[in-house]
Structures are given as structure tokens and as C-alpha cells.
């Protein structure tokens, strides 16, 4: 009988660990609640005020990103889920028990990534599609709507789910590097919210150049149907965010294999 530890056996173990702690369950609930709940609230408010909306806003109105407006808040819940998946092992000391069972550290990270990617992509896509469809129902008859049968719309909706998944990986990578739950979450929030604020200290021309690299703007590009002039095109934004995540993951895994647990 072959009982060798494999990527799949470790993934199975990590899946048990992922779903048996309250932080994951509560985090997922908050994530779904914010995306869906705020989506309903935002679309309902837009519907009731659409008649009085200035014509300029009406011309650039994007039903997709409007209906998914709750993501701006939900992404922090996603960040917490990702970071805690590894940092809580350090905070509790459980990382030593884990590594005694799985001495191959690269394999451990790959297994955790696998669990995080699969669970995040499945939940995110279901939630964003549901939120979009409910939003369109609320809009219908009063506000212009979009349909998933339109390629650009489908892309924007699906990339919203991909954006959230990549954010979870982003904070997971920060968790590997920093090994502290609070530090990882703080840095994640800072990169999303505070770094964009720093842009205001620089001349407008600089801002125009750099703001498109900020994670939140990359997300904005990925989930809108219409490209904004100073931002990346959707797939380019996806590629840039993917490079960020890949860089942090490679850096984190390298540190993880070298240092003492």
C-alpha cells in the first residue's frame, strides 16, 4: 500500500483545516452578505434616483460595476480569509505540527493555494453572478440593463470573481511573508486604501500615470464593461494583478522554505 504524502493528500488535509475554523465561515458569510446585500441596496438606490441623474452620468453609466458595487467593501473580508489561512498557523504555533506532517514546504503552500483558489473562485463567481442578475431585475424597466449573453458583460462579471480570488491570494502571500495575522491584514488594507491616498501628495500628471497600478483600480478595470481612459484594459489589469500575486507568492514561498518554523 502506498501511503506517500502527495499534493492531493495535503490538499485534502488543508481543505479540512480551511472549513473547520470559524474565521473562514464568518469571513465567507460577511463576503457574501456585503456583495449581495450592498449590491441590492445600491441598485435599488440607483433605480429610485435614476430619473434625476445628470445626463453626463447617464451616458457613462455601467450597469455591471454599479450592481457589483458591494465588492469595494467585500474585498476586505476576502483579504482576511486569505491572510488567516496561513497566519493563524503561526499565531497559534500550529505551523510546527503542520510541517511535521508535511515536511515539504513547497508542497504545503501549493496545497493551500489549491484549496484557496478553488473555494474562492467557486464562491466568488456564484455570488457575483447572482448579485448581477438580482441587480438587473431591480433595474429592469427604469435603468438600462445588461445581459450575460453580451461577451463584454460576461467578461466583466466573471473577472469580478477572479479579482476577488486574486485578492485572497494577495493577502495569503502577505500572510506567508509576515507570519502575523494583524500585520498581514493591516498591510493588505493599507495597500488597498492608504497607498491610493498617498497619490494625492503628488502632481496630477504623476497620479494619472500611477493610479492605474493600484489594486483597487485594477479591480475597477476588470469589472467594468467600458474602459476608463486612464486605466488598464480589463485583461491587462488582470495580468498586472496576477504579476503582483505571483511575485508575492514566489517571494513568500522562498522565505518560507529558508527560515526556521
Amino acid at each position: 500500500m502506498n501511503n506517500e504524502v502527495t499534493l492531493m493528500s495535503v490538499a485534502k488535509s488543508e481543505w479540512i483545516k480551511f472549513r473547520t475554523v470559524r474565521s473562514t465561515v464568518v469571513g465567507m458569510f460577511i463576503f457574501v452578505f456585503l456583495t449581495l446585500g450592498l449590491g441590492v441596496l445600491i441598485t435599488w438606490l440607483i433605480r429610485s434616483h435614476y430619473a434625476t441623474m445628470p445626463i453626463g452620468q447617464k451616458l457613462t453609466f455601467d450597469p455591471v460595476s454599479s450592481s457589483l458595487g458591494g465588492i469595494v467593501f467585500a474585498e476586505f473580508a476576502v483579504g482576511v480569509i486569505g491572510a488567516l489561512f496561513i497566519s493563524s498557523e503561526y499565531t497559534s504555533g500550529a505551523i510546527r505540527t503542520t510541517l511535521a506532517a508535511v515536511p515539504n514546504r513547497v508542497r504545503l503552500i501549493l496545497a493551500k493555494l489549491f484549496v484557496l483558489v478553488v473555494s474562492m473562485i467557486v464562491i466568488s463567481e456564484i455570488v457575483v453572478i447572482a448579485t448581477f442578475l438580482i441587480g438587473m431585475k431591480i433595474f429592469s424597466g427604469v435603468v438600462p440593463t445588461d445581459s450575460l449573453s453580451d461577451g463584454a458583460v460576461l467578461r466583466a462579471v466573471l473577472l469580478s470573481g477572479v479579482y476577488l480570488t486574486l485578492l485572497a491570494l494577495f493577502s495569503f502571500a502577505l500572510g506567508i511573508i509576515l507570519r502575523q495575522s494583524i500585520a498581514s491584514i493591516s498591510v493588505f488594507v493599507s495597500l488597498l486604501l492608504i497607498v491610493p491616498l498617498l497619490g494625492f501628495f503628488f502632481p496630477q500628471s504623476w497620479q494619472n500615470h500611477f493610479q492605474k497600478f493600484e489594486p483597487i483600480n485594477l479591480g475597477g478595470s476588470m469589472m467594468s464593461v467600458t474602459s476608463k481612459p486612464l486605466n488598464f484594459a480589463p485583461w491587462s489589469a488582470f495580468a498586472v494583478l496576477l504579476i503582483y500575486v505571483a511575485f508575492l507568492l514566489v517571494l513568500g514561498t522562498t522565505m518560507f522554505t529558508r527560515r526556521d518554523a
Binding site: N3, E4, V5, S9, V10, K12, S13, E14, I16, K17, T20, V21, R22, S23, S88, E89, S92, G93, A94, I95, R96, T97, L99, A100, A101, V102, P103, N104, R258, D260, A261
Partner: protein, 307 residues
């Protein structure tokens, strides 16, 4: 079998482990003894591949831990009983561990039963007492039915009944032919639970042997009562022995054997009333050995890594 080869570990300026060299054999309980901060836990972490050695290596049946194909089936370890996610239940913690090494789910319930915490299997680990956590840690170590077992300070937090249970448990593991390696800073505990003892101090190997060997080689004393203590004292001092006047009529003689003292007394015509060799306790041996080790460190006690 567990083998440690020229092992050294440096943390910044501190040499936590300094050229350790020893074997731990199957079939006996081997105690790993040293004062707090002497490098026991560091050595155990290196054996488990958690910390990287600065020099040397540790192997299990000839293989480095990192290269074990089925780690939990070869080595079971309990380093820190509280090193478990506090929000997870005992059963889920063990299920996750079992799954990683393809160990059957039924085994989880078996080990929970064995250590006696089945009734709290579905409770969160964060609410466990240290004793319950120790038992959970032991359950985790036993999951893969391994041939090599490592326990770092396992009696900490156990009540007297638990300590007795764990001693018998170590003994039975060793009797089954397993390698059992148990660290402790408590000499008295090792004296009753270990067969073989490895003593380290300040990261260096000091000595190794059975409890009997260690006490036999130590400098015991001899209790002497004679008809003329004054005369005997001067004779003993001329033979380079040491004498302490204990009570009115008793002398404690060091550095000489009871044979030598008896011969000397007979030669001088002194009547010997009592001549009793006093074996050093393991505690005495330990204090003597590790006191020497402290001198190596140049008194930098505060810089040693805390375990």
C-alpha cells in the same frame, strides 16, 4: 533509530547547539536532559526538520526528516501541546493531520480513545487544559503508529495520575521495540522514567549512559564512624581525601573508596564502627555536570535562547 551528527545551530551570536553527537536506540526510553535553555528543544526541532542546522545533520533510520515519504508513520512528535489552532475541535485537528498522511479516519477515534479524551473530541481545543492538550498532542504523535517517538517536556501540566500514565506509556512503547526520546529538565523525572540518559548543557554534549552508569561514575562519598575520628581524619587528609564532620561521631569522606578507608583504618589500628558508601543521586550528578557546562558559556546566561 535516531542519529544526531555533529549538530550545531547558531541564532545570531548564540550557539544554541554546539557539535552534538549521539544516537538514540530502539527498545529503550532515552531521556534527553539539560537545564532550561540548554538546546533540547532546538535539537528536537532540527530532528523534525523545523529548524535548519547551521552544521551537521539529524537522521531517522538514515534519512533526513525532510526526505521521509510517510513522516507521521515513521516519527510521532509532541513538541508544544498548545501548538494547535484554538478554534478547531480536537477531532477535526486530528482528521486534518491524518488526511495529510493518508491515515484512515477510524484511527482518529482510536487514538482519541486511547489517550482518554473521546468525550471532548468535538470541543474546541482553545478551551482545553494543558493536561488535555498534552493528551491531544500524544494522540497526534500516535496517529501514524510510528517507530520513533519524540516528546519535549511531556510531563509539564500533567497531574500525578497523568504523569504515572505517561511513564507507563513510554515504557510500553519502548517494550514494543520503538525508539522513545523524551526531553526534560527534571532530573528526578528522568531517573524514574528513562533507561538511557543523554545529558547536555549550553548546547554541548556532556555525557550519556544508563542511570546506574551515571551515578556509579560520579564522586560518591563514604560515611564513616570510628573509635578515633581525629586520627582517621589526619590519615585521610594525608591520602588526599576530603573529610566533613557531619554529626558528633560521623565523618563524610570524599575522593576515597570504602576499601581504601577501611585499609587505612586497619593499618592505623582504628576500630571501624560504620563504613557506608553513599551513592550520589542522579540529581547530584546532574547539578555537578551542568554546573561545569555553565563555565563554558562564560556566564552569558541572559543571551541564551529561551525554550
Amino acid at each position: 533509530m535516531l542519529k544526531v551528527d555533529h549538530l550545531s545551530k547558531r541564532y545570531g551570536d548564540t550557539l544554541a547547539v554546539d557539535g552534538l553527537d549521539f544516537d538514540v536506540n530502539p527498545g529503550v526510553v532515552t531521556g534527553f536532559l539539560g537545564p532550561n535553555g540548554s538546546g533540547k528543544s532546538t535539537t528536537m526541532r532540527i530532528i523534525l526538520g523545523l529548524d535548519h542546522p547551521t552544521k551537521g545533520r539529524a537522521t531517522i533510520n538514515g534519512v533526513a526528516y525532510h526526505d521521509l515519504k510517510e513522516p507521521l508513520r515513521e516519527v510521532g512528535a509532541l513538541l508544544d501541546a498548545k501548538a494547535v489552532h484554538p478554534g478547531r475541535t480536537a477531532r477535526n485537528h486530528l482528521r486534518a493531520l491524518a488526511a495529510s498522511n493518508k491515515i484512515k479516519r477510524s484511527r482518529v477515534d482510536d487514538v482519541l480513545e486511547f489517550v482518554g479524551i473521546s468525550s471532548v473530541a468535538n470541543k474546541k481545543v482553545g478551551g482545553f487544559s494543558l493536561g488535555m492538550s498534552q493528551r491531544l498532542g500524544i494522540a497526534g504523535a500516535l496517529l501514524g503508529d510510528p517507530g520513533v517517538l519524540l516528546f519535549d517536556e511531556p510531563v509539564n501540566g500533567l497531574d500525578p495520575e497523568g504523569i504515572r500514565w505517561i511513564r507507563d506509556f513510554f515504557r510500553s512503547l519502548a517494550n514494543e521495540g520503538r525508539t522513545v526520546f523524551v526531553s526534560s529538565h527534571l532530573m528526578s523525572e528522568m531517573a524514574v522514567s528513562a533507561d538511557q540518559i543523554i545529558v547536555i548543557g549550553r548546547g554541548k554534549f556532556i555525557t550519556q549512559g544508563s542511570v546506574d552508569d551515571l551515578t556509579a561514575n560520579a564522586n560518591g562519598t563514604v560515611l564513616v564512624r570510628t573509635s578515633d575520628n581525629k586520627k582517621l581524619t589526619s590519615i585521610i587528609e594525608s591520602l588526599n581525601g576530603t573529610v566533613h564532620q557531619e554529626h558528633d561521631q560521623e565523618l563524610t569522606v570524599g575522593l576515597l573508596t570504602s576499601d581504601e578507608i577501611g585499609q587505612a583504618a586497619f593499618g592505623a589500628g582504628i576500630t571501624v564502627l560504620e563504613l557506608t558508601p553513599q551513592r550520589a543521586s542522579l540529581e547530584d550528578v546532574f547539578m555537578e555536570l551542568t554546573a561545569g557546562a555553565v563555565e563554558f558559556g562564560g556566564g552569558q546566561i541572559e543571551t541564551i535562547r529561551h525554550e
